[in-house]
């Protein structure tokens, strides 16, 4: 919560599992298993997706999904309707719509074994595609809020990784790796030499927070789940010189 989160090994392993899952459904199951919450990934339908059905993957019980579809709940579900309009992550208790129909929807959900609490992360990528990542849990506030507060950084990360997995599944290809900035390459080169963020900060005359932010950006741009994976990837892409040459000279 303070600055860039220090990610535990378990969370890094979870990110790797999500990235390596053979499909989005399996990735959702992995997140469910780790956090004991239901997971929904919903890619927005846009004119250019060329799909006649929305791309939704969920760990919800089949019976609930059937009931949801049968009752046309997708037409009134505020998580979907308002959620796709929202930009900042939100707790379901922040949703403004409160009609009798919606109340019935939430009551039904609980009857089918879902939790009373939910949290969603709206996603957007450089191509402007939008998706919604949601979790649903049995906890109630304040435990739920504490849970979200403690894990939202990791959840947002996972949501983006899941989004990229989904793009591969839907479009057959992922986002092209984004160009790294000179400073990002510099930070990564120092990591490759075994330096930690605070040391790099001193070398570059920046705060450790800024260095960590650059490294987070590198990881995201190279679509990696850990910074060591990002170093390997950067070497493959010849952004960093391979270690065999004895150094990590920056190429460009």
């Amino acid at each position: 919560m303070h600055g860039v989160e220090i990610i535990s090994g378990a969370q890094e392993a979870l990110r790797a599992a999500v990235a390596a899952a053979s499909n989005v459904q399996e990735a959702c199951e992995a997140i469910r298993k780790y956090y004991d919450v239901h997971v929904v990934y919903h890619l927005a339908q846009t004119p250019d997706t060329g799909r006649d059905a929305p791309f939704v993957k969920t760990t919800y019980p089949t019976a609930w999904v059937g009931h949801y579809v049968l009752n046309g709940y997708v037409n009134i579900d505020p998580v979907v309707h308002e959620g796709f309009q929202r930009v900042l992550p939100f707790d379901w208790s922040e949703l403004s719509v409160a009609t009798l129909q919606v109340e019935r929807l939430f009551r039904d959900a609980i009857r089918f074994g879902l939790g009373a609490s939910g949290y969603s992360v709206p996603l957007t990528d450089k191509a402007g595609r939008r998706a919604l990542f949601s979790i649903n849990g049995m906890m109630v506030k304040p435990a739920w809020h504490d849970f979200v507060r403690a894990n939202r950084g990791c959840l947002t990360d996972l949501a983006q990784i899941l989004h990229r997995r989904a793009l591969v599944e839907v479009y057959g290809e992922g986002d092209a790796a984004q160009r790294l900035a000179p400073r990002e390459i510099e930070c990564l080169a120092w990591v490759a030499q075994g330096k930690e963020a605070p040391q790099i900060a001193v070398i570059l005359g920046l705060s450790a927070h800024t260095v960590r932010a650059y490294l987070k950006s590198v990881r995201h741009k190279l679509n990696c789940t850990s910074i060591s994976q990002a170093v390997d990837r950067a070497r493959q892409l010849r952004i960093l010189a391979p270690p065999s040459t004895g150094g990590t000279q920056v190429r460009q």
Partner: protein, 233 residues
């Protein structure tokens, strides 16, 4: 009052948003001479069509706008990436969940003078920085990339903000423009509250971890004062 306006609230806040586009034209086009797209007396670019979040300071009846800025996730299309990279270079082009971009921060000095003569421009800018940090911490955003004028850096520092300048460009407008990476954390937010002598969060109904906040406020000698102490920067 300080509010966030997300796309699902745009239609309910049309007048405020319109006032914001007009203020932006006056500030960025007329005063700063920036190369920004103008339509009539409004400044509006394509990122405004990309469903950003606006952070707004307005009168309690939402009729008068005092200040505004725009917040966007860097995982999506961003202004600093597309536009400012020409002037800043690529170093400002960060992209990751948890890193957001704040642009077009501006203050309506006239409106402020009429309704809050005790608050000067510097204090107003500082309050907007406090607002960004508050929203960021509440939403799990750990870093904010933002542009500002060089002389404002001093004001932000004095307001308790923690940031590194990561780029500076001449020739974008009449004056140079800086780009900074701002840390958003509970720790920085507390520092800002203390420095600005704010006794409670700017956003009403903000669900803060009370145990974190209570001690900071309890020792604040200005806690009993009104939210705006008019402390001149």
């Amino acid at each position: 009052m300080f509010i966030t306006i997300e796309p699902h609230q745009f239609s309910a806040n049309q007048k405020l948003l319109d006032a914001m586009f007009r203020l932006r034209k006056r500030v960025f086009f007329d005063e700063l001479g920036w190369d920004v797209p103008i339509k009539g007396d409004r400044e509006r670019d394509r990122y405004d069509d990309h469903r950003p979040v606006y952070l707004i300071w307005c009168s309690d009846d939402r009729r008068t706008l005092y200040a505004s800025l725009r917040l966007m996730p860097t995982t999506g299309p961003t202004l600093l990436h597309d536009v400012f990279s020409r002037t800043f270079g690529n170093d400002v082009d960060l992209s990751a969940p948890g890193i957001w971009e704040a642009t077009r921060m501006c203050v309506d000095v006239e409106a402020l003078r009429l309704d809050h003569p005790e608050i000067d421009l510097m204090r107003a800018m500082s309050l907007m920085v406090a607002l960004i940090c508050e929203v960021a911490v509440d939403k799990g955003i750990h870093t904010v990339v933002s542009n500002y004028e060089p002389q404002i850096a001093r004001v932000y520092k004095r307001a308790g903000a923690k940031f590194d300048e990561i780029g500076r460009a001449d020739g974008y407008g009449k004056r140079p423009v800086c780009c900074g990476l701002f840390e958003a954390s509970e720790c920085v937010l507390q520092q800002i509250y203390t420095k600005l002598r704010l006794s409670k969060p700017l956003l009403s109904g903000l669900r803060h971890t009370a145990q974190h906040h209570a001690p900071a406020f309890a020792v604040n000698p200005y806690a009993a004062q009104a939210r705006f102490s008019g402390f001149a920067a």
